[in-house]
């Protein structure tokens, strides 16, 4: 017997988190148009290209944090791991290491931090806020020490101009089919992790842990393994962003990635990822990162003060979380 189906539009919006993601996209369009009307250069192809490139960092880092928010956890070490990734790869490159090998070593170091976070939160059951606060300082400390408490020289100087340029082109300055590579890298990362979250067993386990951890345990889900995987994803994303920042600056900056963990939370929650766990789509994170960057870009272009930019973004984050809480409370009331 053919089962009777809901109409496709209702079905689309019935996907948990889709409503919030669509709201974020709508907000993005409104914000973009408003800024565009005020400053026509916002619509220029050059600006659009730059906008996409700049939002890539927030998108990738947001993906990592979204994985954790969905499990009901958080990763405060993200920004420091970004810095560590940038410093390790840059230091190695300035010492003549092949960029690929340097990136691999940086990746390993980042994944170790992810694994430690997973062990502390999943196995030792430390509160994620405290556990990742510890690794945040540790990773930043490693970033400082790796080059003797100073920024690195230009990466092109150590590995030769060609390799340095190739690295910078691949991650930041180069274009493919007219689009900056940075954005393409972000899109690839997005597609991989979107697939992982929505089409695999691990993805369902991530949602299940955030939704009802006890039921997940009783259904044979290893909370430790799943939490660790989420932290590894987050560490991987931080690693990629570290490489992007390294390519952008052409050197390793000890302060790279500072506050990025918070930008990541903001990208997620603006896009409807629930900080209470269990709900959200990476599509929302995409919209959230875009909203964030469009705001920054637009406020810059109309000449708003940096302070005002921060206030506007802060208000939007609080509003997004408030919306999530109110919607959840409303749903619970309706059910009662």
């Amino acid at each position: 017997m053919q089962a009777k189906r809901m109409n496709p539009l209702r079905r689309f919006f019935a996907i948990r988190g889709m409503g919030s993601a669509m709201i974020a996209f709508a907000a993005l369009i409104v914000i973009y148009v408003v800024f565009g009307l005020r400053e026509p250069n916002v619509f220029s192809p050059v600006n659009i290209q730059n906008l996409l490139r700049s939002m890539s960092k927030y998108l990738i880092i947001g993906i990592g944090q979204s994985y954790l928010l969905i499990t009901g956890n958080i990763d405060l070490s993200l920004g420091s791991v970004v810095g560590m990734s940038a410093m390790i790869s840059a230091t190695l490159m300035t010492h003549g290491t092949n960029p690929l090998l340097a990136a691999l070593i940086a990746l390993l170091a980042c994944l170790v931090i992810g694994l430690i976070n997973g062990l502390l939160v999943g196995k030792a059951q430390l509160p994620p806020f405290i556990a990742t606060l510890g690794t945040m300082f540790t990773a930043r400390g490693i970033g400082y020490m790796i080059n003797g408490n100073r920024n690195t020289d230009a990466i092109a100087s150590g590995i030769g101009k060609e390799a340095g340029d190739a690295f910078q082109n691949f991650f930041y300055y180069g274009r493919t089919l007219g689009v900056f590579n940075t954005f393409l890298v972000a899109v690839v990362v997005f597609i991989i992790f979107f697939f992982l979250l929505s089409k695999t067993r691990t993805g369902r386990h991530i949602y299940a842990i955030g939704s009802n951890v006890d039921a997940a345990k009783l259904s044979g889900v290893s909370v430790f393994a799943t939490t660790t995987k989420a932290y590894m994803v987050s560490a991987f994303c931080a690693f990629v962003v570290g490489l992007i920042l390294c390519a952008q600056a052409g050197m390793g900056n000890m302060e790279a990635g500072n506050m990025y963990e918070m930008y990541a939370v903001a990208s997620g929650v603006i896009g409807g990822i629930s900080p209470l766990g269990g709900t959200g789509l990476l599509l929302g994170t995409f919209a959230g990162a875009a909203v964030w960057q469009t705001l920054e870009n637009g406020l810059n272009m109309i000449g708003a003060q940096v302070g005002l930019q921060r206030i506007v973004i802060g208000v939007i984050v609080v509003f997004a979380v408030l919306l999530d809480v109110v919607v959840r409370r409303g749903t619970r009331k309706r059910i009662k």
């Binding site: 017997m1 929505s198 067993r201 369902r204 345990k217 009783l218």
Partner: protein, 520 residues
């Protein structure tokens, strides 16, 4: 003359457009223990809320300790000093027993807490109960019975003259229930009254002087507990259930002798010491933990969260390992609240434990579509498209048990499956479990009290102090103590109910939402 503690006079109470209590009348005298037997859940939660707080009434009057505290013309939303002890803890886990009893009390004014003084003050109360309990113990470390006693003492210390006990037998073992009854009688002798809520008449009649039968938010009848079960309860919807049990019981064949689906051999872990049992495919075994110590340990072992200290836990002949976890399905008590993922869709919930059988279930849409097409007629077309939190209790139970059915485990472990369920739900759970058994899945019911579990059981294993105390086969159920639910059923297996005397033999009809009521 007897002093009246509580009188609820013709209460009609509505919440969000639904009539929860309808011409509800109940009175309790000082020092009286009154049973309340809800046939269905309508109005039970509202009654408790209304006892605790003076909420706006549609009609009626509430008197507590001789004073009119709430009436339909004016409700001041104040709280009544009435204690309610539920199956879930009402204590602050990280505070000691003494802190919970004294500090978390209305009217406690001291600013500096002197632990020794509190402990000394608590001592006579604990001595009165005859229960050995340290005032310094943290609430988190208390097992069910000491926790219940702590809450009881807390209510007494707080000056509550009426204490509501919500289904104590669902958390307190049979062995401790007798101690609780002694304590209740002691306090009743001191003038404290109790409203003892129980799903089973047999349980209530052991302690109560009379029992009020509650149906669809009203008191259908108040009976002296000297009456026997069938004459008083059969008219209230239980008959259909009883007949169903009896019919099934007669038709039920014994499970064939095959290799056990679950076998515990000399199992040792924390409170479990040398536990031996086996369950065959398609067999239903009830494990009753007489002192409520091992259930948590057993669930931890069976769900694979912990490993045994010694002995063997074999499922389908193999030791339970991480890759075989789907061979065991654990259904927690009150699964509608504990076993679902509210943020996942219905289909995701349904297929959650299917991935070991159909690896592509999350990647491809075909497996889910096939499950949907197969099960939609059974579960309901519209139901599948609903968000999980909008499902009714019945639909949630269907979802949890159908998920287990799809999982096809060797054994389904049901933890207190009938806890808090009304007659209609019990019938449904019964049928859902039958469905598992029909598919050859072994069912192990973990219980503290027997409730309705016996009606389905092939064997009963009673565990005391972490080891098997006695094993009863179905023929031996009649030799269980008289207070056991359904005891009459097993003592007189051929006894028939008088169906002619029953006004409605169908299942209990719930009160319709927004049902028009007489205006006061």
């Amino acid at each position: 003359m007897k002093e009246e503690v509580l009188r609820m006079d013709r209460i009609t109470f509505r919440e969000q457009g639904t009539t929860e209590l309808n011409h509800f009348c109940l009175d309790i005298d000082a020092g009286e223990i009154v049973g309340l037997i809800p046939i269905n859940d309508t109005g039970l939660g509202a009654l408790i809320r209304l006892l605790r707080q003076n909420l706006p009434l549609h009609y009626g009057y509430v008197y507590y300790r001789g004073r009119l505290v709430n009436h339909w013309q004016e409700s001041d939303l104040t709280y009544n000093r009435i204690g309610v002890i539920e199956s879930r803890s009402g204590l602050a886990d990280d505070l000691t027993v003494a802190d919970n009893v004294f500090v978390l009390r209305q009217g406690f004014k001291k600013r500096i807490i002197r632990r020794k003084v509190l402990n000394r003050q608590l001592e006579p109360f604990l001595r009165e109960t005859g229960v050995k309990l340290s005032a310094e113990m943290y609430a988190r470390d208390l097992t069910a019975f000491p926790r219940f006693i702590t809450e009881l003492v807390k209510a007494v210390v707080a000056g509550c003259r009426l204490i509501v006990l919500m289904e104590p037998a669902s958390v307190i073992s049979d062995a401790r229930l007798a101690t609780l009854q002694r304590i209740l009688r002691h306090y009743a002798g001191e003038g404290i009254s109790f409203l003892y809520v129980s799903r089973h008449y047999e349980e209530a009649r052991q302690i109560c002087t009379r029992a009020a039968i509650m149906l669809n938010g009203e008191i259908a009848k108040v009976v002296p507990t000297a009456d026997t079960l069938p004459e008083t309860l059969q008219c209230f919807g239980v008959e259909a259930y009883t007949q169903m049990v009896r019919r099934q019981e007669r038709a039920k064949p014994l499970p064939p002798a095959t290799a056990p689906a679950l076998m515990l051999r000399d199992l040792r872990f924390e409170h479990i010491r040398s536990l031996n049992l086996s369950v065959a495919p398609g067999e239903c075994v009830v494990l009753q933990d007489l002192n409520n110590h091992i259930l948590r340990d057993l669930i931890a072992l069976l769900s694979g969260a912990r490993k045994p200290d010694g002995g063997q836990l074999l499922v389908r002949g193999k030791a339970l390992a991480a890759r075989h976890l789907r061979d065991v399905a654990v259904i927690q008590q009150q699964p509608a609240a504990s076993m679902l993922f509210p943020d996942l869709s219905y289909m995701d919930n349904l297929c959650f434990t299917l991935d070991h059988r159909t690896p592509g279930v999350w990647r491809r849409s075909a497996p889910k579509a096939s499950v949907r097409a197969e099960l939609a007629p059974l579960l309901g077309e519209d139901v599948i498209d609903k968000p999980v939190e909008q499902l009714s209790q019945r639909e949630k139970y269907d979802l949890v048990y159908t998920r287990v059915l799809l999982q096809r485990p060797g054994v389904a472990v049901c933890v207190q499956p009938f806890m808090g369920a009304d007659v209609e739900q019990r019938m449904q759970i019964w049928k859902l479990m039958e469905r598992l058994l029909e598919k050859g899945i072994a069912v192990l019911i973990l219980a503290v009290n027997l409730a309705d579990s016996l009606a389905l059981a092939d064997r009963l294993i009673r565990v005391l102090g972490g080891a098997v105390q006695a094993v009863y086969s179905r023929e031996d159920f009649g030799s269980l103590p008289p207070g056991t639910p359904w005891h009459d059923f097993w003592v007189n297996p051929e006894r028939c109910f008088h169906a002619d005397a029953i006004p409605n033999t169908g299942s209990v009809a719930p009160i319709a939402p927004n049902q028009p009521q007489n205006q006061p």
